[in-house]
Each structure stands twice: as C-alpha cells, then as structure tokens.
C-alpha cells in the first residue's frame, strides 16, 4: 500500500491537487488499496481554494496517517501565505524527511524551497514564476520542461504536467504496466516527458 498525502490550504490551485489526487486514487483502486490518498490541512474546517472551490480535507497535521509520498500544490496561498507560516513549513520539512518521494506541483515548489526540500535542487515551477523562484537562490530552475526529478524530489510545471508527473511517479513506484492501466482507466493519454523520468514507456530513473 502506498499512502499519498496532499497538503491543502486556502488559495491552493484546485487542479494542482485534484489532478494528481485522481491519478493516485485510480492507482490505489486498481491495486486494491483504495483509501490511501489523503488531503491534509493545517486545521479542521472548509478550505477555500484559489478559484473558489470549497473543499473539506480528510485529515489535519495532527491526525494524518504515516505517508509514503508528500504532495505540495501551488497557488496564490502557497507563495503569499503558507511560506510565511513556520508551523506549515516545519511540518513540510518534517514529513519530507520521512517519505520516499516529495512531489511539488507548480508554485508548490516555492513552499518546498522555503521549507528546505527544494534547496540546492533542480526543479521546475509555474512558467510565470520561474524568475521569482530563481531570485530566492540556492535552487536551479529548469525552464521549458514539463517536470523535473532530482533525487527523491519530483516537481511539475503545468496543468497537464501535474498529471504526467503523477503518472511518472506511479510508474516508478508500481511499474510501467500499472501506469498504463491507470491511463486507460482515466481515459488519459500522457504526454511524452522530456526530462527526469524519460518517456513513460521507458523510465530511466
């Protein structure tokens, strides 16, 4: 069983967590391990996302299960609010040190930079914020790549890329045949990535 934990916070971008969540959920369903994809918020209560979607998280920082994968979405709230909350960045740093994989989605990379896991790493982020992230220093921002893998840190750049990077991770964790089954179940044709994991058909990491 693989337990995925997706951080949720006010003004998180909806598709940054709903897209990868779908990939991981379908993967666990196909593997007979349904129920190990958790949305985790700092506190209980409704979360108001970047474009107004109101979502209830499954767990809080205080009651979530042990995780194998930590997923950090982006959005206005990531860059402007969560990066300034030590309770959140400390939690990210602590969990990141325990999981097998850390997966940053778009501007979620800013949170992973502040918290530590993206320091000194090669990463991608939302195309509109590449200069801003690079200005923070101690990070190599890859441009024009859908996603990047550096050690156990996987970051993705855009909307489609977040699905593709999640699929790359599933193929890495559970094999290429399984990843193709997930694509079939979702009726989704992944794009050929050009960085990090290589083609979905030939993972080279």
């Amino acid at each position: 069983m693989t337990t995925y934990g997706l951080l949720l916070f006010d003004h998180a971008e909806e598709l940054d967590f709903v897209g990868p969540r779908e990939v991981f959920h379908v993967s666990e369903q196909l593997r007979g391990d349904s129920g190990s994809v958790a949305l985790i918020a700092e506190y209980p209560g409704l979360v108001h996302c970047a474009k107004g979607l109101q979502v209830l998280a499954d767990h809080t920082f205080g009651d979530h299960p042990p995780l194998d994968v930590l997923v950090v979405p982006g959005g206005w709230g990531a860059r402007h609010v969560q990066v300034h909350k030590p309770h959140v960045t400390d939690w990210i740093a602590k969990i990141a040190s325990r999981v097998d994989w850390v997966h940053g989605i778009r501007t979620g990379t800013f949170l992973l930079h502040t918290a530590g896991p993206a320091r000194g790493r090669r990463v991608v982020t939302d195309a509109a914020f590449e200069d801003e992230l690079e200005a923070h220093g101690d990070v190599t921002v890859m441009r024009d790549e859908p996603y990047a893998v550096d050690g156990n840190l996987l970051t993705s750049r855009g909307l489609s890329a977040a699905l593709d990077s999640a699929l790359w991770l599933v193929s890495r964790l559970h094999g290429i045949d399984h990843a193709h089954d997930v694509c079939s179940a979702m009726d989704y044709k992944p794009r050929v990535p050009s960085l990090g994991g290589g083609d979905l058909a030939r993972p080279n990491h």
Copy 2:
C-alpha cells in the same frame, strides 16, 4: 458575462466538474467577469464525490442565478442515483430549455438522456459505458471521438476531452484568440479534436 452552472451531486466524478470549471473560471477571469461559474447542488450541504472529495456547492436548485451554460458531470451517482430522481431530471430539462449550451461530461450523458436533452442526438460518453447508453435507445453514441457537438448539445468522452471540449465551447462563445489565451494561462496544450468543433484553431460550427 457568461454564467456557467455545473451540476454537483454525490458520487460525481471529481475531474468531470473540476476540469471544465477551471477552463470556464480562467476564461471569465481573463474577460474580467470573475465569479460566474457556479457549482449547483439539489440541496445545501457537503457533497461526497465519486473518489471521496468533499465539496460544498455554491448554490442549490432554489437559489442559483440564471445560466447561459449547463454542465452535467458523470460518475456512479449520475448513472445509478440521479437518473432516478425526477426532481433532478426535471430541473435539468427545465434549465436545458433555457440555456444557450448544454455540456455533458462522460457519463453525465446518461442524465441528459433520461432528462431529455440527449434524446435523438449524437453524443459521446465514457468509453466503458457506450454499449449501456446505446441500449437505452433514441440516441446515437459516437465511438472513439473525444467530443461531439449536436445542435447546442456538447458531450465529452474522457478526462482530457472534458478540458478540450470546455475549451472548444469557450472558443465558440468568445473567440479563438481568447481560447488560446485560456490555454496559455492554464499552461495547457489542447489536443486536436477530430469531431464536432474541428480543430481548436479553426472552429467550423
């Protein structure tokens, strides 16, 4: 201003409404008309989606604004529950008769068939349920097409297709240049459709 209303119900597929919602929301933001994309549920309270996401709708059947576009997502709840609720199918039929466009996502086509708008039309649905929909009769199920347009009824087949069909609709409503702006803002590269609206670059309906 274009007002989009997306039906929400228990066991609706998450990406069936979150994906198109993103397209329409970005479109309205770029056009300076933010706030006219509404999630509408039969009753107040949390909705439990097909893969466990807990979402609060913006409106109920009793208090939503007048709509220009009605969007009906799919999911287990569409095929097994909502089709048997006259209060829901009557609402769909009533709203569909008033809007400019009706947009069915994946198995949302089943609901539109029961409610009336898909009767006698050419539609697509989730690949796994094409035979089942065809068995209901009085509908032409197009196979292996990402989406279909018949009159003012737009239906889409899969996860990527739901984004592409929503983008087709935005290009139809607000022009091809605007649709490309939406794609850029989302960092999403639409797939070339093969049915209905033709290529996104050359809408022919």
